[in-house]
Symmetry: C2
Subunit: 150 residues, 2 copies
């Protein structure tokens, strides 16, 4: 396992790839973000996006899935998250787009009162044209090696 | 329709309620956030949460769904979002929890180059014990009344 003490500022992980299908985009948005440009490919043509695009929350959810997969490969002792510092949806994600990402550790600090540490990361997702489509800065909690040993 | 020009700082909308089921929590997390405390009610007991909790992204997705419903009731001319300024998952959301929310307009400003305006809101979701579980500050784009008038 990789514990809080094992993480270093500047450490980079690769995420993905993941290809978005129209079926998946519409299924997510029908349930969680039923706006015309996310659920109706015909109505979407007359919006500012000119066609169907994924919900930004869907893009984030896929980023999370890819992050959990990367954490699993690394044996990361993740134990939750207090939240997100910022999230920018920079370009639309359309059916057929393939996103890959990288996450970088920006900062680490121990909790003052509880047996874990915090890790702040920037995660960037790019499409198949290498355009930045999503930039997120978020915080994750990691268990302590000393705690696991103790 | 309510356009950018119709929005005022301090304006409040009510969101929800929505009750989270274990089935829904596990279904979302299995697809997008498959960590033990989100997908396995037995394994979740030995985590810091002491039981199954919803993915924070799931809580956000439900908040989005409730926001789209509120926007629909208000006839809001929403046309996308550039992103989220901050998001804090303050308390776990567990199976059976019922969340309700309020959103408040913090700031509005027109785009300098494109035919829409930006609206910054704080959205807060509380559970059935009136505990604050989610606080999000995000930005939405609204179409302009003058543009719609042609």
């Amino acid at each position: 396992m990789r514990y809080f003490e094992d993480l270093a500022v500047g450490e980079v992980d690769a995420l993905g790839p993941h290809t978005f299908t129209e079926t998946e985009i519409v299924a997510f948005a029908t349930r969680y973000d039923p706006q015309p440009f996310h659920v109706d490919s015909v109505a979407a043509r007359s919006t500012i996006f000119g066609g169907l695009i994924a919900s930004g929350w869907h893009t984030c959810a896929v980023m999370m899935r890819l992050s959990v997969e990367a954490a699993g490969r690394a044996g990361a002792a993740i134990t939750g998250s207090p939240g997100i510092d910022s999230c920018r949806w920079l370009k639309p994600v359309r059916p057929g787009d393939t996103l890959s990402g990288r996450s970088e550790v920006l900062e680490t600090w121990p909790s003052r009162s509880r047996p874990f540490g915090f890790v702040r990361r920037r995660v960037e997702m790019r499409n198949q044209r290498d355009e930045l489509v999503l930039s997120v800065v978020g915080v994750t909690m990691y268990r302590l090696r000393e705690e696991a040993a103790g």
